[in-house]
């Protein structure tokens, strides 16, 4: 699959902006379901005192990670929260006491082999950043006797416009990243690691090349800047030349793909035991007067970030969690930051509206040429309109990863990616 991808404007305005902490918010709202997998059961009650890193939610299910308090303070209320998926989960509102006292349970974990490593990663609350937020320990929980892994692909492509939070991880904490990579390699007995960075981050590439110069089995791969270079299957292919097939996990091809910030986090967790309670976010978009990178406690309301980046709520026409290609619209400034967030983008009306009207498909084939999975979005659209489920299956609708490239390039302004999402419901 020679991968071409599409060219986007990068807008990496914040690439050089040092991550700064935001002032501690008065309250945080921590959701009991922050990613795919089972939601957590609440471990605290209203009125309880909690400390930073204290476990406040957990689940017996394997496909789940515990949730920890990002602040010290008092549990004020427990409320129902409507998720974007339409499901409702519990949310814990904690009033901060300003001391940020660290919980006694925060201790470096005892790790000696793969099983204890996987358990530690589960306890850390770590999950991936790919929107759905795949719990990291599940990726690492492979039977290496049966299916050896030979390649660790560290995804630092960051192909979405605007977002620079992974880039900042590489620049600010390169040693953590390398240490995390080496830990994963050690416990999973992986021979080679590839740190994949898009060419548009020369500083990060330079730093990583220097730092890994004496490490023979860690390679820094500079990738073409094209979208969606950071999609799991694409980055795995770019690094190893292996194609991850339909319905396959990367491990079936001897590959594990981890996000770069995840690698850095794993290193720090093994050293300190501090679970995932804060996130680095890029704040950007034309409605923010001061675009920047910030470190925020999980559960911080978006409104705090709008204030911090000098945006006026009244001037924001569209608010995104994530990048402009795959990010989700937020409709409420009180929405809390979750573990899977990596950016909050705010746009004024000028950039938020799609100006061009939809016209008839002219069969130009641009969507077909743009699709990284080599699907035929225009045919999929026709099959969806005809409600032809068989055809949708034949056209491999299930391989669509909703990257949005097809919609982006279409001169007739068809919402092809959206149609595919609707069509998926049809064949389910």
């Amino acid at each position: 699959m020679p991968f071409w991808g599409i060219k986007l404007d990068h807008h990496k305005t914040t690439a050089d902006s040092q991550t700064v902490p935001i002032p501690l918010p008065k309250t945080v709202k921590i959701l009991m379901s922050q990613h795919m997998g089972a939601p957590c059961d609440l471990l605290v009650n209203v009125g309880d005192e909690v400390k930073v890193g204290q476990k406040i939610g957990d689940s017996a299910a394997f496909m789940s990670t515990p949730i920890h308090s990002s602040v010290s303070g008092t549990v004020k209320t427990v409320e129902d929260y409507l998720l974007a998926s339409g499901k409702v989960c519990k949310a814990v509102v904690i009033e901060t006491d300003g001391n940020q006292t660290v919980c006694e349970t925060v201790q470096p974990p005892q790790v000696s082999d793969l099983a204890s490593f996987v358990k530690a990663v589960k306890e850390s609350g770590c999950c991936g950043l790919g929107g759905a937020g795949f719990p990291t320990h599940i990726k690492l929980n492979v039977d290496i006797k049966d299916k050896p892994i030979d390649s660790l692909v560290i995804n630092a492509a960051e192909c979405e416009p605007y977002i620079t939070s992974d880039c900042r991880e590489l620049i600010e904490r390169p040693d953590d990243v390398i240490d995390g990579v080496e830990k994963v390699m050690k416990y999973l007995e992986i021979e080679n690691a590839y740190i994949c960075i898009e060419k548009n981050k020369p500083q990060a590439i330079k730093i990583m090349k220097q730092k890994t110069a004496d490490k023979k089995n860690i390679t820094v791969v500079s990738l073409r800047s094209s979208y969606p270079q950071g999609a799991e299957k694409v980055v795995a292919y770019s690094a190893t030349g292996r194609i991850i097939g339909e319905g396959e996990l990367p491990s079936a091809k001897g590959i594990i793909v981890l996000n770069v910030s995840t690698a850095g986090f794993i290193s720090r967790y093994l050293k300190t035991g501090m679970p995932l309670v804060e996130k680095r976010l890029t704040l950007d978009g034309d409605a923010f007067r001061t675009p920047c990178n910030v470190m925020v406690p999980v559960g911080t309301a978006v409104s705090e970030l709008v204030t911090f980046a000098d945006g006026a709520q009244s001037g924001i026409a569209k608010l995104l969690a994530g990048g402009p290609m795959m990010g989700m619209c937020l409709y409420d400034f009180s929405a809390p930051i979750t573990k899977t967030n990596n950016a909050i983008l705010a746009f004024t009306e000028k950039l938020a509206k799609n100006k061009e009207p939809k016209t008839a498909c002219i069969h130009c084939g641009r969507c077909v040429a743009a699709c990284p999975m080599k699907l035929m979005p225009t045919e999929l659209e026709k099959a969806y309109e005809a409600k032809d489920a068989d055809m949708l299956r034949k056209l491999k609708l299930n391989l669509c990863m909703n990257c949005g490239s097809c919609t982006y390039v279409c001169p007739a302004k068809h919402n092809l990616a959206e149609v595919n999402q609707l069509a998926k419901a049809l064949i389910r």
């Binding site: 986007l8 339909e246 026409a317 569209k318 002219i362 056209l395 949005g404």
Partner: protein, 309 residues
């Protein structure tokens, strides 16, 4: 903002629109129009202008009658008008051109549902209709640089033109087909601007050259004469009526090339470009059906699944 916009991703779009793509095609046709004006004079330019205007007017009238939104802004009608005009002899009466345009815009395009729904290239259908109905008018040629009507045959029929003259367009023929160099300019422009991929024109022209060579004709002469370059560059690359994948476009081009040569060498018409494109337009949906892309990593459906379906 009282209500923020909530919409599914992606939240950005490229600036490319149908109108912009068509605008680039018009620009790419510009050298051919200039060359035609120099070679065949003001009458040729008037014919181009007339056809473009009438195509747009017909498109608008159809839109009003059929209660469709105004689509003249997408410039596709203008492109059809220009390409149609470039396929006419310089002295063709305006009313004959009008009849051709009526079949192009009204019958072929609008009655089938407008841009994107037409099964064949409107300009080609228009041209074929008048070629069949007014054979005399459609084969009345003028000498370059004079307005004299000539009884001389076009280079394709006479087989005796000078190669350089054909390259520069100093031969008799349709308005826009004679000047190869202007057409090639347009081709390079379209490819550089990524408006078309070179697949179809190269497959088409390559096949004609190869076929000519095998049939004992002079390949270069066959490529430069007749409407081959105009057809291969501007008509066989029409989005709507040609296959969508690269493999499909390749097959389409080869098919056009073979049919063109068969008609030229063994048929009763001297020229086969229009007919070949029309025929391939008709089979294009079938080519599309056979030339689907192979999704990355897709599993072949197992036998069981097939039976269950």
């Amino acid at each position: 903002m009282d209500k923020m916009i909530v919409s599914p991703s992606p939240h950005v779009r490229s600036g490319t629109t149908t109108a912009k793509l068509m605008g680039h095609v018009l620009l790419a046709l510009f050298p051919a129009i200039v060359a035609a004006t120099i070679i065949f004079g003001g009458r040729a330019l008037m014919l181009v202008g007339f056809c473009t205007a009438i195509a747009v007017v017909l498109e608008r009238i159809c839109g009003i009658i059929m209660k469709r939104p105004d689509t003249t802004g997408d410039l596709s009608a203008a492109v059809t008008g220009v390409i149609f005009a470039l396929n006419l002899p310089p002295t063709l009466p305006f009313w004959v051109a009008f009849i051709g345009l009526f079949f192009a815009i009204v019958v072929t395009k609008q009655l089938f549902g407008g841009l994107g729904h037409n099964f064949a290239n409107p300009a080609i259908v228009g041209r074929i209709v008048i070629t069949l109905s007014f054979p005399a008018a459609m084969t009345t040629w003028t000498e370059p640089f004079t307005a004299d009507v000539t009884t001389l045959a076009t280079p394709l029929a006479s087989k005796s033109a000078n190669m350089l003259d054909m390259f520069l367009g100093m031969t008799s023929g349709c308005i826009g087909e004679t000047c190869s160099v202007a057409l090639i300019f347009g081709f390079v422009y379209l490819c550089v601007m990524k408006i078309i991929t070179p697949t179809t024109p190269i497959a088409f022209v390559g096949t004609v050259a190869l076929f000519s060579f095998i049939a004992g004709e002079d390949p270069l002469y066959q490529v430069l004469s007749g409407g081959l370059l105009l057809g291969a560059i501007f008509m066989a690359t029409d989005y709507v009526t040609t296959p969508v994948t690269q493999l499909g476009k390749f097959i389409f081009g080869i098919g056009c090339g073979i049919i063109t040569c068969v008609i030229r060498f063994y048929g009763s018409y001297p020229e086969g470009v229009s007919f070949s494109i029309l025929l391939m337009n008709i089979v294009s949906p079938y080519i599309d059906m056979l030339c689907k892309t192979r999704p990355v990593g897709a599993k072949k459906p197992s036998k069981k699944v097939k039976e269950a379906n």
